[in-house]
């Protein structure tokens, strides 16, 4: 899953064979974020109000995206930057490769970016003979491991320090100890050298401020600043959904983002990049390119329910509280984005054939919507996409197997004809008595076998209706006390 767009995401198949080390690593890390977030949120009495304002601004921007994107383009150009529009992932890759070729770039340093994961940029650069090195520690680790990220903000969350040490030892031919400080030092040593020699820095972007054409990067490690200032050339690949109206909006999102993501008030580095350096001696690259990535976003924007996914500010809080995510890890979601937000984004971007299992990868417990800093109604969108999968809608045909749809039809009939349901209720205890052992049903036939493989069923007893009739018939309203 490192660079290719999947043909089919088999969530169920993956979930049957989750490596045992993943849930424990993920649960350990996410619990820290959850408690950190809770403490920071408790400090802000106006938190709920901020969430509402954040949500309103995002929705407003989604509804007026063309206006803000046009303004953004003008402002970036006015600041001396270049703007490129990429309709597809392939177009985006070609744009970046073209810029690299024009500048005879041999090596690239990259700051963490979900957009470049989305388009599989590293692979394309390598194919073109350009070395692309991830410089965020987590991204560096998964690049060495040859996988994609398993969490939005902690790409290597599924690995424990012992596994990272083993990976470093194998790939870097050294003897790496299982000590986070030492591992960071080793990575830093490798990366320093690369920063100095890279011909191009590539970043993503957390926000694009239309008002002034400013790219905002929110990071913690300092590598983002190195990538965007050391090389003479900076290319930012950013989804069009990242645009926000103005600086005032930004203050809201900065308050929401770090608190929700890592439980920090503010991340260590918040960079504002408006075009390239303009004067002799001014800090920064000589050239700045902004690649605005559509890759299906414009189509999703036509769906008034589904498009709320683009309110997302990529904090990962939904994954941190998601009991499904915490038990399967990010790879189960089959693409660059995982957790509840992945479950509602991938089916919209890849279609409900490829990703038809993902909307069902939730118990609809609603924990994600509770913590989402921009109030994305994730359970509502999950149900919306389930409808698309099960019965089809104006955007796509139904993709659920006919057998399941037929079963649902039969269930609907039986539940709507109450005489039929009542007959079933009387028969079931007799039929299921065959399977009863010591007041439990330890094994039941398919599909209930899917339940009993993990825990027994209580026995079917259906005694209330009979009791009510009997009690009411004999003693009227002075019922069985």
């Amino acid at each position: 899953m490192s660079h290719e767009v999947p043909n089919y995401i088999g969530f169920e198949e993956y979930s049957e064979h989750v490596p045992a080390s993943i849930p424990s690593a993920v649960q350990q890390a996410t619990s820290r974020f959850v408690s950190g977030r809770a403490s920071r949120v408790a400090e802000l009495p106006q938190w709920e109000e901020l969430r509402q304002i954040g949500s309103d601004i995002r929705l407003h921007t989604i509804e007026n995206m063309d206006v803000y994107l046009t303004r953004l383009e003008e402002k970036v150009q006015a600041a001396g930057g270049h703007v490129h529009w990429a309709q597809t992932a392939e177009e985006a890759r070609q744009i970046v490769l073209q810029i690299a070729r024009e500048h005879n770039v041999k090596s690239v340093v990259k700051s963490k970016s979900m957009a470049t994961e989305e388009i599989g940029l590293n692979h394309a650069l390598e194919q073109a003979g350009i070395e692309a090195l991830e410089t965020d520690l987590g991204e560096y680790i998964i690049q060495l491991a040859g996988t994609g990220p398993s969490h939005i903000i902690v790409p290597a969350v599924h690995l424990k320090k012992e596994e990272i040490a083993a990976l470093f030892s194998e790939k870097l031919h050294i003897d790496a100890p299982a000590d986070p400080v030492e591992l960071t030092r080793i990575a830093r040593e490798v990366l320093r050298e690369k920063f100095l020699n890279a011909g191009m820095g590539i970043s993503g972007g957390n926000f694009l401020i239309a008002e002034t054409g400013t790219l905002v990067l929110v990071t913690n490690e300092g590598n983002g600043r190195m990538c965007t200032t050391m090389p003479d050339l900076h290319v930012a690949v950013v989804g069009i959904d990242k645009v926000i109206p103005d600086w005032e909006s930004l203050t809201v999102f900065l308050k929401l983002l770090a608190r929700s993501a890592t439980g920090q008030k503010l991340s260590t580095y918040t960079q504002f990049i408006t075009g390239p350096s303009r004067e002799q001696g001014e800090f920064g690259p000589k050239e700045f390119h902004l690649v605005l990535l559509d890759n299906g976003r414009s189509n999703i924007l036509k769906d008034p329910v589904g498009r709320e996914v683009f309110k997302c500010i990529r904090c990962g809080a939904c994954a941190n509280v998601c009991p499904v995510y915490k038990n399967v890890g990010g790879f189960a979601y089959g693409w660059f984005i995982s957790g509840p937000i992945g479950a509602i984004l991938s089916p919209q971007m890849l279609g409900t054939q490829t990703a038809r299992e993902l909307p069902y990868a939730s118990t609809l417990c609603g924990a994600c919507a509770d913590v989402c800093p921009v109030k994305i109604p994730i359970p509502t969108i999950l149900r919306h996409l389930r409808r698309r999968v099960a019965q089809g809608d104006e955007f796509a045909e139904a993709t659920l197997p006919v057998t399941i749809r037929t079963t649902a039809g039969l269930a609907s009939f039986a539940l709507a004809q109450n005489w039929l349901y009542r007959i079933g209720t009387r028969i079931l205890p007799w039929v299921m008595a065959i399977f009863k052992r010591d007041n439990w049903i330890p094994y039941a036939p398919y599909p209930l076998s899917r339940w009993t493989k993990a825990r027994p069923l209580p026995p079917f007893n259906a005694g209330f209706r009979g009791w009510w009739r009997k009690v009411r018939a004999t003693s009227g309203k002075e019922s069985a006390k």
Binding site: V324, A361, L415, A416, A454, R455, P458, F464, A480
Partner: protein, 245 residues
């Protein structure tokens, strides 16, 4: 004398006869005159939550017609099923249609059991005695869709002899999630096992919840784990008296 209609839910109907009997006793003891419309089946949530909105309508219509015979409030022992009717029924029908008006009417007078006790009847102490160490699992739809954060605890707090022990990750889903258990049984199993682990670690001898679905899952999980901890619906705990405790 307040009147109310019993909504027994399909899981209650199939598996929890004594809980429904206890619900009847408790409400009648509080002076509520009860009706039971036998035409009721299921609220349709399993179909609705799995994307079969079109196939939910017929089931919802059956429900609405069953309960439209009286204008008395409707009370159910499940936050999840009640939430389905309360929050999703109106969305199933076209605004302006007679079905839509009926759905709005039905959804405006349906209550979850503890919600009805605490917020409508304004009863906190039902005279229950249960001298045990009790912990509580907050069911997802009860907690988040219905917004019932304090009702169950308010009632438990008034039970004589009860020692309340809080549960680690009280608000984390137990892993049932309706058809989810059948679609992704292994994920459901891990979530259930985490819940069982936390319950066992709490040191309580009883775990209580307000949802037949979670109860099936948690009780089965505890049994499978060989634990002697008792899983109960809150109704059964509130019906406990000196002799049965």
């Amino acid at each position: 004398m307040p009147k109310a209609q019993l909504f027994i839910t399909c899981l209650g109907d199939q598996f929890y006869t004594s809980t429904l009997q206890n619900m009847t006793h408790l409400l009648e003891r509080l002076g509520v005159e009860l009706l039971f419309p036998p035409q009721q089946t299921c609220c349709g949530q399993p179909l609705f939550n799995n994307g079969f909105e079109d196939k939910t309508r017929a089931v919802a219509l059956n429900f609405m017609h069953a309960f439209a015979k009286s204008d008395a409030p409707i009370i159910g022992p499940s936050g999840s099923c009640v939430s389905m009717v309360k929050h999703h029924y109106p969305s199933l029908f076209k605004e302006g249609s007679s079905e839509h008006s009926l759905a709005v009417d039905i959804s405006s007078r349906i209550y979850e059991f503890t919600e009805y006790l605490v917020n409508v009847l304004e009863v906190k102490d039902v005279g229950a005695v249960y001298p045990h160490k009790v912990t509580y699992h907050a069911s997802c739809h009860y907690l988040r869709e219905m917004g019932l954060k304090t009702e169950a605890k308010t009632l438990l707090n008034c039970v004589k002899g009860l020692e309340f022990i809080s549960l680690e990750e009280e608000e984390t889903c137990c892993g049932f999630g309706g058809a989810f258990t059948v679609t992704y049984p292994e994920v459901s199993r891990s979530m259930m096992e985490n819940k069982v682990r936390d319950i066992v670690a709490s040191g309580a001898d009883t775990v209580v919840m307000c949802e037949p679905g979670c109860l099936m899952n948690v009780a089965g999980g505890l049994h499978k784990a060989g634990s002697s901890i008792r899983a109960m619906h809150i109704i059964d705990l509130l019906a406990a008296r000196e002799e049965s405790a």
